[in-house]
Structure formats: structure tokens, C-alpha cells
């Protein structure tokens, strides 16, 4: 990729204002919304892909698509659900890629060093167990469980984010939770 000249940067800088008009919200509103949602979205992307660097890229892509969507939202919760839906779609797109491009969910977790604080070692071990168990679930089950128990989303919010019917969430969540609980209790099964 070629370097940009000063005139090109100036031109782009001037164009920023024009391009901003095409977005679904103004910059100040976006800043507030971003501060409130970026961390949970990044955590979701990071855990669902198992790749922190990829999560960085997908975070930018999620907000870009959100801004470009141009859709109006009834309230902040609706806006947030829509954001998670975009993030979920991006994660699904990533999963469809050939396996060589993907990393396993357990890959980013550092090996346990028993010399460090016992609590840290235990926590890392638990995280590794969770990542291994999550890896054995279906992608949709993973998304659903994360949204429900890590993100604290309601059934309606999960349905909105995953594009499912609200009525089916209860049963699907029950099954996914049962599987994960069994895997966590007996990691060998």
C-alpha cells in the first residue's frame, strides 16, 4: 500500500465531516455510546473468536457497520442489541473461513506457571477449562451462553442479537447451559 501525501491527508480530513453526515449518529452521541459498549463488545468478540488481535479488527468493523447501517433505534437497549447482532454476524463470517486462518479458543491462554500467585494459576486453569468446554459447544450455544451469563442479556436481547425467536431462547439456553455445566464438571466427557 502506498503512503499518503499531505494533500491527500488534508483532503481526507476535510472529507471526514462530510462522511460523518452519512452515519446513523453524530460524533458526540457515538462517543458516549462507544464508551458504554466497546468493552463488552470487545470481550464478546475476543472470547467468541479466541483471538484478541482479531477482536480488535472486528471491533472496528462492528462499529463501522453499525454507523453505516443508517437504521433508527427506539432506545439505547435496541441500539446495543443491534451492535451485538453485527458482532455476532462478523464472528460467524470468521468461523466460515478456512480453519488455517482461525485460532483455537484455548490458543491465547498462557500456560500455567505454578510459581506465580496460586490464585492466578487457579484462575488461568479455570479459564482454560472454560475455553476447552466452550470449544466443544456449537457456535450458537457459545454466543447464547455468553450473552446470557457474561453479558447479562435478557431473552429478548439474545433473540435480537442472534436473530432467533424469543420463544425458542428458553429451551435452547437450557440445553446449552446443561451441556456446558456437564463439560465444566467433568472436563473429560
Amino acid at each position: 500500500m502506498r503512503d499518503m501525501t499531505f494533500s491527500e491527508i488534508e483532503r481526507l480530513g476535510a472529507a471526514v465531516g462530510e462522511a460523518g453526515e452519512a452515519f446513523s449518529m453524530d460524533e458526540d452521541t457515538f462517543r458516549v455510546f462507544y464508551e458504554r459498549t466497546a468493552r463488552p463488545v470487545w470481550a464478546y468478540l475476543s472470547r467468541m473468536t479466541g483471538d484478541a488481535r482479531l477482536a480488535d479488527d472486528l471491533l472496528q468493523e462492528t462499529y463501522y457497520r453499525f454507523l453505516r447501517a443508517g437504521s433508527t433505534h427506539e432506545n439505547d437497549a435496541h441500539r446495543r442489541n443491534y451492535l451485538f447482532r453485527i458482532a455476532t454476524n462478523l464472528v460467524h463470517d470468521h468461523r466460515r473461513k478456512p480453519r488455517a486462518d482461525r485460532v483455537e479458543l484455548t490458543e491465547g491462554i498462557d500456560a500455567i506457571d505454578t510459581r506465580v500467585d496460586v490464585n492466578v494459576a487457579e484462575r488461568t486453569a479455570r479459564r482454560l477449562d472454560l475455553a476447552r468446554a466452550m470449544e466443544r459447544l456449537k457456535p450458537r450455544e457459545r454466543d447464547m451462553l455468553w450473552l446470557a451469563y457474561a453479558n447479562g442479556s435478557s431473552h429478548q436481547e439474545i433473540a435480537d442479537a442472534l436473530g432467533l425467536k424469543r420463544a425458542s431462547i428458553k429451551l435452547l439456553l437450557f440445553r446449552a447451559r446443561k451441556r456446558l455445566a456437564n463439560l465444566l464438571r467433568e472436563p473429560g466427557t
Binding site: 460524533e27 466497546a38 471491533l59 451469563y149 453479558n151 429451551l171
Partner: protein
Amino acid sequence: MIGPRQTRGPRRARLRGGVERSGPAVGSRRQATNVECAREQDIVDAIASGRWPRACDPSLEAHAAACEICRDVVTVAVALREDEFIARHEVSAARLPSAGLVWWRATIRARAEATRVAERPLTVAQGIAGACAVGLACGLAGVAWQSVQRFQRVGEMIAGLDASTLQLASASAVILQRALPLVLGLGACLLIAPLAIYFVLSDD
């Protein structure tokens, strides 16, 4: 003899083997469809707020120990909450780009995309114009070549005339010989000029 209704009940129950019940069940239908517990949300809230297990209602803890659904909820919710906490800690280590940076990148990209979309018809038009120019030049070159051949035939006819007109014939042949490079040059210009214009414009 066992009727169909009698055999269907247990079979259904086997098919729904994964579905557990919680609390006292009234009938077999309720047993099969009960996939949640009334206190499930209280447990989730207690875990989310960090009150679990020490700072929450002791009856809730006792219930979780007895209820299979709530036991699963505790196992899963505690693990995922802890992982979410770690993930948030990871992201706080200067990983997350600022809102301003994300906004700026998005606007730059939006602008670049808008430019690309706007330029697309122009590029198509330039391509069509280039193709037309090449076609026209080829056509002109063909016409020029035919006229050259016609001039040669005229020259041959003149050469075949009697001596009185021989001087005129030789003069015409000379003219034709001199005109040939001119015609070829004109044809070449017609061929190259549109291409040159196209490439100059497409560089912009």
C-alpha cells in the same frame, strides 16, 4: 393390550431425556417442559452483582444446592462471569482504541468507499470509450488500407496506358508512392491518438 396413548408417554419422555425438571411437578406434561426455575434470575443477579455466594440470601444458596437447574446456572454463570471479568481486564490494558480514533477511521473509510462508488460509472465509461476508440481506429486503419490498395490498382492501370499518357501515369505513380507513407502515418495517428487520450485520462 397396550394402547398407543400408553406407549407414547414414556417414549416422549425418553426423547426429551435432556430436559430436566425443577421443584415439585404437577403432571408429566409439566415435567417435560419445565426448563427454568423461578429463582434462576435471582441467582444470576446475585452472581452478576458479586453477592454470590457469601453476601446473598442463604435460602438462595440452599435452593441452588437442591435444584438441578440452578446448580447448572451457578456453574455456568460463575465461570462465564469470571471470564468476562478477565476479558474486561485484558481490554483495559490500553488495547481498546479511543472513540475518536474509531470514528475517524470509520469516516475515512466511508469517504473512500463513497469515492470508489462514485468513480465506478466513470471507470466503466472510460473503459467503453477506450474500447470504442480502439474499434474506430481499427476500422479507419482497414479503410485506409483498402484505399491504398485501390490507389495501387489505379497506378497499375495508368501504367498499362499508351505512351502519350505515360508521362501522366508516371507522375501519378510518383504521387501515389509519396502519398503512401502519409496515408499510413495518418492511419497510425488515428490508431494511437485515442489510446493515448484514454491512458492520459485514466491516470487522473
